[in-house]
């Protein structure tokens, strides 16, 4: 273990960490609204409709297959269909495709956790279902999603390492290329692991605090 070399590796890996963060956060920003929307659909509609069925199949697929397979599907199938995307957006798309499958459930749970009284009160005041959902239920649900969604961001950061397979030079791919150039794996892997660990732990540290603060200002919803 050579500390100067490790510091050198750290500096070389920082841009790659930036790419990892950019990939995960972009994917999260796209996937979360979709998850909330589809989740509230699942929460409010019966499970027999055709769209509900399709969503079930989609969720079953995403949860039952490795992200690597999903990445391959985006990577191989899109070009075959004539869709050409930059590598970055292919990576984002694969992550979104995966993450929505998990976030639908987060959204559904959040919407369902908002007390029924809220629906009834809003209806009594003369709002129709749609504006009740968008004006009153969703904002409250969104607040409840903060914790699980931050958790999902950690999952995305870890999942983004798999994008190294399609030669996206995020943190893991860059570390790999440094290893194969310098043949010093201990230092590189320790620095790489340290960067992932540091980022994910800072994230979950703030997630816990944010969640606590949001739930303490969430008085109305607590009573069921």
């Amino acid at each position: 273990m050579n500390l100067t070399y490790m510091f050198d590796v750290l500096v070389r890996l920082l841009p790659a960490l930036g790419l990892t963060i950019a990939l995960s956060i972009t994917a999260l920003l796209i996937a979360t609204p979709i998850g909330l929307l589809l989740g509230s659909f699942r929460a409010s509609s019966s499970s027999s409709g055709i769209i509900a069925r399709l969503l079930d199949v989609y969720i079953f697929f995403v949860r039952g297959t490795p992200i690597l397979v999903q990445i391959f599907i985006v990577y191989f199938v899109l070009p075959a269909l004539g869709v050409k995307l930059a590598l970055f957006w292919m990576g984002v798309l694969a992550l979104v495709f995966n993450s929505v499958g998990y976030q639908i459930e987060i959204g559904r749970a959040a919407v369902q956790s908002v007390a029924k009284v809220q629906w009834e009160a809003s209806r009594a005041l003369g709002f129709d279902d749609r504006s009740t959902l968008f004006k009153f239920i969703m904002p409250q649900a969104a607040r409840r999603m903060v914790g699980p969604v931050m958790n999902e961001l950690s999952q995305l950061i870890k999942a983004s390492s798999v994008l190294s397979i399609i030669t996206l030079f995020e943190l893991h791919k860059s570390a790999e290329s440094i290893i194969s150039a310098d043949f010093r794996f201990v230092e590189v892997l320790v620095v790489e692991g340290f960067l992932y660990f540091l980022f994910i732990y800072t994230l979950s540290f703030f997630a816990v605090r944010l969640e606590r603060r949001l739930s303490s200002s969430d008085g109305l919803v607590e009573q069921r």
Binding site: P66, A80, L189
Partner: protein, 215 residues
């Protein structure tokens, strides 16, 4: 892109063989995880502090690092300390490390969610600490751990796809190689997907059966 059944059947035997490897790696990794997690959880909870801290730090580090990086660690690390494993066993070790870390965390939080009353009551009745944990708390917690544990073990099976990077001939590696050999994409993708769904589905069916048995 039309679906070619001929190549579908042509590739199926090789893919099934690969599926067998995936099943073997998964069964071994899941099995070792289930064997190692309970004692480590007990250590995490009641052992003297140095052991407790070591297990805790291990769990936190593994949970904070992508499985792919863990695989790289094991792949480069084992030979460096003089252990020569082939890809298959390297994979089993790596996936076991991942599986155990998450399983310990799940079991720990399940036992802690039981509340202090149980523990205090057992200790007040003169049960030794380790028997309290092993016979009372652990067995009760087991039922609560089953759903999240199954989820996590399904993740371990899915992470076995990552072993394709260290050229273990499992589903993803073989499928990928076939795609680059033959440029047949859809048929192979469909096979990969179905095989994974079957394997992961088998695990969750098994766990559901076990859960209904435990009630």
């Amino acid at each position: 892109m039309s679906f070619d059944w001929l190549s579908f059947w042509e590739f199926l035997p090789r893919m099934l063989q690969a599926a067998l490897v995936t099943v073997q790696v998964s069964v071994l990794a899941v099995g070792f995880s289930c064997l190692l997690a309970p004692p480590l959880t007990i250590i995490r909870l009641i052992a003297p502090w140095p052991a407790r801290v070591v297990v805790g730090v291990f769990v936190e580090i593994v949970r904070g690092i992508p499985p792919l990086v863990i695989i790289a660690f094991v792949y480069f690390g084992l030979p460096a300390i003089g252990l020569m494993f082939d890809g298959f066993w390297t994979g089993v070790v790596a996936l076991t490390i991942v599986g155990v870390a998450y399983a310990v965390e799940i079991m720990r939080s399940a036992i802690e969610s039981l509340g202090r009353g149980q523990r205090e009551a057992a200790l007040a009745l003169g049960f030794p600490v380790w028997r309290t944990y092993l016979e009372l708390l652990f067995l009760q917690a087991l039922k609560r751990t089953l759903p999240p544990l199954t989820n996590e073990l399904a993740n371990v099976i899915k992470a076995s796809a990552l072993l394709s990077v260290i050229s273990v001939h499992e589903i993803t590696q073989v499928g990928n190689a076939l795609i680059f050999e033959t440029f047949v994409v859809a048929e192979i993708m469909v096979q990969m997907t179905i095989l994974y769904l079957i394997i992961v589905g088998a695990l969750s069916t098994l766990s559901r059966k076990l859960e209904s048995r435990l009630v």
